[in-house]
């Protein structure tokens, strides 16, 4: 259904003239005496509804079903006509609910039988209906605003349902002519207005209703085009339940509804609580919920519904839910429902069951063969939906398992840690608008992406790639450093964590360094701590741009971490890193770029396996002979580049060899500080002067507070 089809705007015009106060002549017994109290008492006389009451309650039922199934974008404007038109609500979404309409109808009250019939007419209402169809709805306004210069693409169509008591066929024709003329006039007006829209298409549904037992003075007529803009149809219906049935049929036609009957619902008997009987409940919903039946031509449409009206319903069998387990079903559609008989006991039992949070699977009744579950009833936030489950064979049958694909052989993924990460990055609705400091609107979803970016700046995927994330002692720091802003307490906790690690190092506590793929005992204890400190520094450095307090954590870390010569080295490197971060802020490419080295080096077996890989990569990168192709590499994720490919890359056999020799040599002696810190074999001299000045000047000229 297009959004701005005729069903977008429905105007009800209900006759409020004196003759509508007449009885529909269908009696309702309301005094049902209980058996043992009836002796000697005569029940009160039955009463009957007026034509007005019948019209109003039938149109309310139409609206009830419509609002249940389309709570948005399908709008009703209710007009009552007597000596003038009374418009009971507006197109505004706020006005679109039964309570509003009921209150407005109560204020109008029943027609006054003693009013002067000469000054009352349904025409007032019809004219007002055309007028109101020209008024723009908030949805039309929104669509026009978005489309700007293409605003004329937004359609303006509508439907007028007029319930009246006409005198004759020629009277009906007079009403049609009047609508036709009014549309013509108002379209002229609308053409020159920004606030009004021309009516492109109007469907007039005239319902002539009359007391039961009388002859109709008006004949039925199918939909007929009166002009390119206006079509009209005439229904001549007896009042009472006949009118209600007619409007029920119409609401289904107008909103493309279909009916499903849930059968075999077990329900406790009201009188005998220990017995249960099976009940049926009929639901209405959009007809697309039956699209699979129509497509496969596999109609087991179960004949007429219980009312005996000519209407098709699909019967589906209730499957008593066994567990409360949450499952993700493959669902191809979900459609809001409305019970046909909303207040009946079976209906309310079913809806209450669902509203309490249980879901019910529905089965296609088949004479033979396997059980086919085709639908599911489930409520979400007090609204019940009919879910269409895919019952056809999947085209994704028998796919390869994820363990057979890329990364499928790796066994030490940090599954639990990532689970924790996912829980921290769960979403929640923020319904009230929030504003940034600069006053612009803050989009919560962008905040969510932003948080993911922060939380993944340094996130090793496998256990053997990390030391710090395997250490309970690091948790207080690692959990807060990813935050956008730190409190003083957070900083204090980070500092405590660092002191604690220093303490551990002093006591020579063992570290959970991975020994996967290593030969021998693994690295020495002091080497282990170097790896750990390097990794921790990488983590903290990834976040120093967040705030000054993050910077303070880094400073604390640099001040505390082990061994002066290395500290020197780190500081130097830190500056380079910062510079790089400024260049490619938030891109996180730093971390990605480091990986190919770690992978290729590992493969070549040039370096000690046991070395912490990131640190390793840094050593290589900074070593004099390492070429500079890093930044020239295409920016694709490196993980997928098969290492074999890399040997074909820019690395020559010579550089491989010299790398190997250099690394081997570097283990035999302590590397010169100058060479370690060099960039392209050039080392900066007199660095200590800067530090002695009490300022750690970064190369991009930024000074950080101490």
């Amino acid at each position: 259904m297009k959004i701005f089809s005729e069903s977008h705007k429905t105007v009800f015009v209900v006759d409020h003239c004196p003759y509508m106060a007449e009885s529909c002549r269908q009696h309702v017994e309301f005094d049902m005496l209980v058996k043992n109290r009836t002796q000697g008492i005569i029940p009160l006389a039955p009463i009957s509804k007026s034509l007005w009451t019948c019209s109003v309650e039938s149109s309310m039922e139409y609206c009830r079903i419509m609002y249940d199934i389309f709570p948005f974008k399908k709008l009703v404007n209710f007009i009552v006509s007597d000596s003038g038109a009374h418009i009971l609500n507006s197109w505004s979404q706020e006005d679109q609910n039964l309570q509003e309409l009921m209150a407005a109808l109560a204020a109008v009250g029943p027609p006054n039988p003693r009013a002067d019939p000469e000054c009352c007419s349904i025409l007032h209402g019809l004219v007002a209906a055309v007028e109101t169809l020209c008024k723009i709805t908030e949805y039309q306004h929104e669509a026009r605003t978005i489309l700007m210069e293409n605003a004329e693409h937004v359609g303006n169509r509508g439907r007028i349902i007029c319930i009246t008591n006409a005198k004759s066929d020629s009277h009906v024709r007079m009403l049609e002519d009047c609508v036709q003329e009014t549309i013509h006039e108002h379209n002229k007006l609308a053409a020159n207005s920004d606030h009004l829209m021309q009516i492109q298409k109007c469907e007039l549904v005239l319902i002539h209703t009359y007391p039961v037992g009388e002859d109709s003075l008006v004949s039925d007529r199918l939909k007929k085009e009166l002009s390119p803009v206006l079509t009209s149809e005439v229904h001549s219906v007896r009042a009472g339940r006949h009118l209600a049935t007619k409007l029920n049929v119409l609401v289904q036609q107008h909103f493309d509804l279909a009916s499903t009957t849930i059968t075999n619902i077990p329900m406790k008997e009201e009188q005998h609580a220990n017995t249960s009987a099976n009940y049926d409940v009929e639901l209405l919903h959009h007809k697309d919920a039956h699209v699979d039946f129509l497509k496969s031509g596999d109609n087991h449409i179960g004949g007429n519904s219980r009312e005996g009206t000519f209407k098709e319903t699909v019967t589906l069998k209730w499957c008593t839910p066994r567990t409360n387990s949450v499952e993700l079903h493959y669902c191809t559609g979900a459609y809001r429902i409305s019970p046909v008989d909303v207040n009946s006991r079976p209906s309310s039992c079913l809806t209450n069951f669902l509203l309490n949070g249980r879901s019910v699977l529905l089965e296609q009744p088949r004479k033979s063969g396997s059980k086919v579950i085709s639908h599911m009833l489930s409520s979400h936030g007090g609204e019940i939906f009919l879910h269409v489950l895919s019952s056809s064979r999947s085209i994704l049958e028998d796919p390869p398992s994820i363990s057979e694909g890329c990364g499928g052989r790796v066994t030490d993924y940090r599954i639990t840690d990532f689970g924790e990460f996912m829980r921290e990055n769960r979403l929640t609705p923020f319904l009230d608008p929030r504003y940034k400091i600069d006053g612009s609107l803050e989009i919560p979803l962008e905040r969510a992406k932003d948080q993911l970016e922060k939380h993944t700046r340094y996130w090793p995927m496998i256990i053997s790639q990390t030391t710090i994330f395997n250490m309970q002692a690091v948790v207080p720091l690692a959990s807060v450093i990813v935050k956008e802003a730190l409190t003083d307490e957070d900083v204090l906790n980070c500092q405590k964590t660092i002191y604690n690690l220093v303490d551990m190092e002093r006591k020579n506590d063992p570290l959970p360094i991975s020994t996967v793929g290593t030969r021998g005992k693994g690295p020495k204890r002091d080497e282990q701590y170097r790896i750990m400190w390097n990794e921790l520094e990488t983590l903290v450095r990834a976040h120093i741009s967040n705030s000054d307090k993050h910077q303070r954590v880094l400073e604390c870390l640099l001040a505390c971490r082990s061994k002066p010569p290395e500290e020197e080295e780190r500081k130097k490197r830190g500056r380079k890193r910062e510079e790089k971060e400024d260049k490619s802020e938030k891109s996180g490419k730093d971390y990605e770029l480091e990986k190919p080295w770690q992978e290729s080096e590992r493969l070549k077996g040039v370096l000690d396996r046991e070395k912490e890989e990131l640190a390793e990569a840094e050593v290589i990168k900074d070593s004099p002979d390492s070429p500079e192709p890093l930044n020239k590499k295409p920016l694709i994720t490196i993980d997928e580049i098969p290492p074999v490919e890399k040997t074909k890359g820019p690395m020559s056999l010579l550089s491989l060899w010299s790398n190997r020799i250099n690394t081997a040599n570097s283990r035999k002696h302590q590397e010169f500080i100058g060479r370690l810190n060099s960039v392209n074999n050039k080392a900066e001299l007199y660095q200590h002067l800067k530090e002695e000045n009490g300022m750690e000047t970064t190369e991009n000229g930024k000074a950080s507070r101490q």
């Binding site: 309301f30 027609p111 191809t332 909303v342 363990s403 890329c406 052989r409 979803l445 969510a448």
Partner: protein, 482 residues
């Protein structure tokens, strides 16, 4: 979507094609060559596609069966465009297709969405010399215009057949490659079957929307909260390794050359974000919400086969700002750390979902419907039942009474108010001697109020006016009231 290849094996397909200086080919050979190329492409780049082969001349035979899925299908018809003559020929069938009855309906359009690709082992001139092309175009038209006719450019030879099938492959069988991202964690993936462009609203914005090749995760939601949402389609998300040319290497291909195998093994050993994500989604029972384009989202989750196999799957929601009413607007979903307190509770025992709509639906708000007499009778009986248990049931009695009163006023059904007032007065006279004195007071009070409302004019008829219980005090002295 699955593919059925329908191959013409009629006699005319054996017509020789003159190729200079080489052995003689028949059109059939050209067709086989083209199909081989298509199947090879599928085997390497599109290997999860289900394919079936049907051959036909005057009869047909299913050579390779595949599936009974009728949701969507692509049909590749390979023919030389010689449509036969007389009864049963395409020309005759098309001419008479309006005269068919329901039981022998013309097969087109198929009763399911489909694409019909017709590969002609003939060039355009040849087809245009007869009305063959018109007939074939009619077929595509009959299939709601879904499909395309391919003809050979230039002379009939292997090379030109290849280029024709190449065009089909580009159109319908190009694998969809994307990058799955979660902040800085990324993985190259193939999305299978490839997502087709989607048209949101034909009226306002009829341009088909395609999904991004950057699939960006925006956050996570529990399976119970996302609650079996409706989706447009679902797709496997297969991690792939790309070489510099952007061709796939590694898993995703089955090729038994040794090089490929070792490449597969190496790719298998490199940690991949998809595997990590899949593992955690499965363990935690969660889904990842992924952004597919502007105002278009989907979800990633672990899908288990009936056996031990499981996979990372992506489902696409309908494009729009609010695909699932119970989650609200997607743009309004933000990180829990921005909330004042954790909406999931400190013990993970609550959830901010589902969102409650502003207005309740009719079945959740106790609406009054009196279209059937039984509806009205039930409501009157409820009042009566409570009336007989006064004063214990005073609150329910007035609640039901006010509900009836409101509905009667809205429907202009004032006779009912009079009727119920009469009934309450009668109940008053029927009270047993043992009844609490308050019962009589309340019944009389209620009846008076209903009568006042039924006159329709007084303040008692105001919709928002509620009948409140009569304030009585029998504890001190009942005579004080008189």
């Amino acid at each position: 979507m699955p593919t059925v290849v329908v191959m013409d094996v009629s006699l005319s397909m054996t017509r020789p094609v003159s190729v200079e200086g080489s052995e003689e080919y028949q059109r059939k050979h050209l067709a086989v060559h083209g199909l081989t190329m298509l199947f090879e492409h599928m085997a390497t780049n599109y290997k999860l596609e289900f394919t079936a082969l049907v051959v036909f001349s005057s009869l047909w035979e299913l050579m390779v069966p595949f599936t009974r899925d009728y949701n969507t299908l692509q049909v590749v018809l390979v023919t030389d465009g010689c449509l036969g003559i007389g009864r049963g020929s395409l020309r005759h069938s098309l001419a008479t297709c309006n005269q068919r009855n329901e039981s022998s309906r013309f097969p087109l359009p198929f009763p399911f969405p489909s694409k019909l690709y017709i590969m002609c082992m003939a060039n355009l001139d040849e087809l245009q010399s007869s009305d063959s092309l018109d007939c074939l175009e009619r077929l595509v038209d009959l299939n709601n215009g879904e499909g395309q006719i391919f003809t050979i450019d230039g002379p009939l030879c292997l090379k030109n057949v290849q280029s024709m099938f190449g065009k089909l492959i580009d159109l319908a069988y190009t694998p969809f490659h994307a990058v799955l991202k979660c902040g800085h964690l990324t993985s190259d993936v193939q999305v299978f079957p490839r997502p087709e462009p989607f048209i949101i609203d034909e009226e306002i914005d009829p341009i088909p929307k395609a999904i991004n090749t950057d699939l960006e995760i925006v956050g996570f939601i529990d399976i119970a909260d996302i609650s079996s949402p409706p989706v447009l389609s679902r797709h496997l998300v297969l991690p792939i390794a790309l070489n510099k040319e952007g061709d796939e290497v590694g898993p995703g291909i089955t090729d038994d050359t040794e090089d490929e195998n070792s490449a597969n093994q190496i790719a298998g050993k490199i940690p991949n974000f998809c595997v990590l994500l899949h593992g955690s989604l499965k363990v935690e029972g969660m889904v990842a919400i992924v952004q597919l384009g502007p105002e278009w989202h989907g979800m990633l989750y672990s899908q288990a086969d009936s056996k031990k196999k499981s996979n990372l799957m992506m489902s696409l929601f309908e494009p729009g700002p609010e695909p699932l009413p119970w989650l609200g607007k997607m743009a309004q979903l933000g990180p829990i750390s921005d909330a004042k307190e954790n909406p999931y509770g400190e013990d993970d025992n609550k959830s901010p979902f589902p969102l409650q709509p502003k207005n309740k639906r009719s079945y959740a708000q106790n609406v009054t419907v009196w279209i059937k007499p039984s509806g009205l009778q039930t409501d009157v009986q409820k009042i009566l039942r409570n009336a007989r248990k006064l004063p214990e049931k005073t609150q329910t009695f007035y609640k039901e009474l006010n509900r009836l009163r409101k509905a009667a006023l809205a429907f202009g059904f004032l006779d009912l108010l009079k009727g119920v007032a009469d009934m309450l007065e009668r109940e008053c006279t029927l009270l047993p001697d043992t009844a609490h004195p308050d019962a009589a007071f309340q019944l009389t009070h209620a009846a008076q109020q209903l009568k006042a409302a039924s006159n329709g004019t007084s303040e008692y008829a105001a919709y928002d006016h509620n009948i409140t219980p009569l304030q009585t005090d029998f504890s001190s002295s009942s005579t004080e009231r008189i």
